[in-house]
Amino acid sequence: MVGTTLELRGSPFLHEIIQEVPGGERIVRCLQCGTCGGSCPNGADMQYTPRTIFAMIAANQREKVLKANTMWFCVSCYFCVSRCPQKIPITDIMYGLKRIAIRERMYQDTDAPALAKTFTDLLDKYGRSFELGLASRYYLFNRPIAMLKMGPMGLSMFTRGRMSLVPTKIKNIEQLQSIIRKARELGGTQQ
């Protein structure tokens, strides 16, 4: 491949990432320039910046990468992607790392997987997001103390007609659920 800069052969984890992420093969072009970390709004809070993560992937440091907080601080703002001189789909690689860490329960100190699961469980059930259901379930089970602070805000949202007490269900929920079942069957992950 033209422009290969990361060593490919020695790292099974690098091949795993390439399999996991559409366009992931571009990771081997990484120049280690650091533009990604420098552009990241949360770069300062990451244990390792994306640049470092890519070097660690090439060095097959699988466990260290999957236990890192890096991907959980990625908010999908795509600043790094738009600036990367090698057009590496960095945000999508972060999604890929999140998926593997969730599948193998390797994440630490983050409520992001719980939020994601609560969100998509509601989507699977109703076909639409349900904000009150999401907030109450997520906070109750994961951040009960923070829930108290959310009270006044929730109330002001409610009084302005910005929070529904009941979920909306799409008409053809069976169709959506058949599509989701098929996706899981075809290589999606176990939920």
């Binding site: 949202m157 909306t168 075809l186």
Partner: protein, 296 residues
């Protein structure tokens, strides 16, 4: 001009003001929005962090449901817009993935041919398809003297090359100038609002929100215009919590760009969803706009 319309979940309730003002403004501009029948949630960022194929299939159902006679879809929400574009583009680049997604859709008797529908953001549509002359013609209440900060956020301008600059976009600035507003410099106009970090890690999210409010205040903006429900929610609903966290006292109204456009067009403020924002916008509008053409 007819377009398929994908409002997305936020516009149904928490950002109802966006939906109301989008429909009102579109109607006035002769844009016919045909809501996708029985659309479903796009999954925002949450499905991609768990299951790539399901994420794509769930999004693709919406593309597949678009009426065959329509070839463009408008999504006002940033996450919805990005997700529709992302799946269409992934399917174009990767025929094997496209085939898998279509196998999933087939389980619901649906099919989507990548590239069949062009995904547009509403700002692009108003700026490009309607254009300066037609917009200026509709102004009955020029926004003269009103200082606005145009906030684009992330996912409308990145990562796909599109209708505007990914770091210093200008299309909303231009649109607001056409309707007479004074657009302030807002260097952080395409920075992140914290997204779902407000629910996961407040200190990080609050710092990002603080920077945005601080920047708008430094340039003496009367209000911040948003084009994304998440941005509006984070800046508006969390503004008081951010103030308590940092000991600041920002009181900057955060509204959707279509709401202000509607004001310039003389539409009824109630029908534009005013009053739903937590930091009230009406006082500053009444103060700054001379002889409002329409009142609440």
């Amino acid at each position: 001009m007819k377009y398929a319309y994908y409002p997305g979940c936020s516009l149904e309730c928490s950002s109802a003001a966006y939906d109301m003002s989008v429909r009102a403004v579109a109607d006035l501009l002769g844009i016919e929005l045909r809501e996708i029948d029985d659309w479903n949630c796009c999954g925002a960022t949450e499905y991609f962090s768990q299951d790539e194929l399901t994420a794509c299939a769930v999004i693709a159902r919406n593309l597949a449901l678009i009426e065959p006679q329509l070839d463009q879809v408008v999504a006002p929400c940033a996450a919805c817009y990005l997700n529709l574009r992302k799946v269409d583009s992934l399917m174009k680049e990767d025929p094997a993935l496209a085939d898998k997604i279509n196998q999933c859709l087939a389980a619901g008797r649906l099919h989507y041919d990548p590239g069949r529908v062009r995904v547009r953001h509403l700002l692009d549509l108003i700026h490009t398809d309607i254009g300066e002359t037609a917009i200026k013609d509709k102004v009955v209440q020029p926004l003269t003297g009103l200082r606005v900060a145009c906030y684009y956020g992330c996912q409308i301008v990145r990562p796909y090359d599109g209708f505007d600059n990914p770091e210093q976009p200008v299309k909303l600035d231009e649109l607001m100038t056409w309707v007479g507003a004074e657009v302030v410099d807002f260097p952080v106009k395409a920075h992140c609002c914290g997204g779902h970090m407000t629910q996961i890690s407040e200190p990080q999210a609050f710092e990002l929100i603080r920077r945005l409010l601080h920047n708008a205040a430094e340039y003496r903006a009367d209000l911040i215009l948003c084009m994304c429900p998440m941005c509006q929610l984070n800046l508006d609903a969390y503004q008081n919590r951010v103030n308590s966290f940092f000991g600041t006292n920002y009181q900057i109204p955060i509204i959707f760009f279509t709401q202000l456009l509607g004001v310039a067009f003389g539409l009824d403020w109630k029908k534009l969803g005013f009053g739903k924002e937590i930091v009230p916008a009406e006082p500053v509008l009444r103060k700054k706009l001379t002889a409002p053409a329409a009142t609440a």
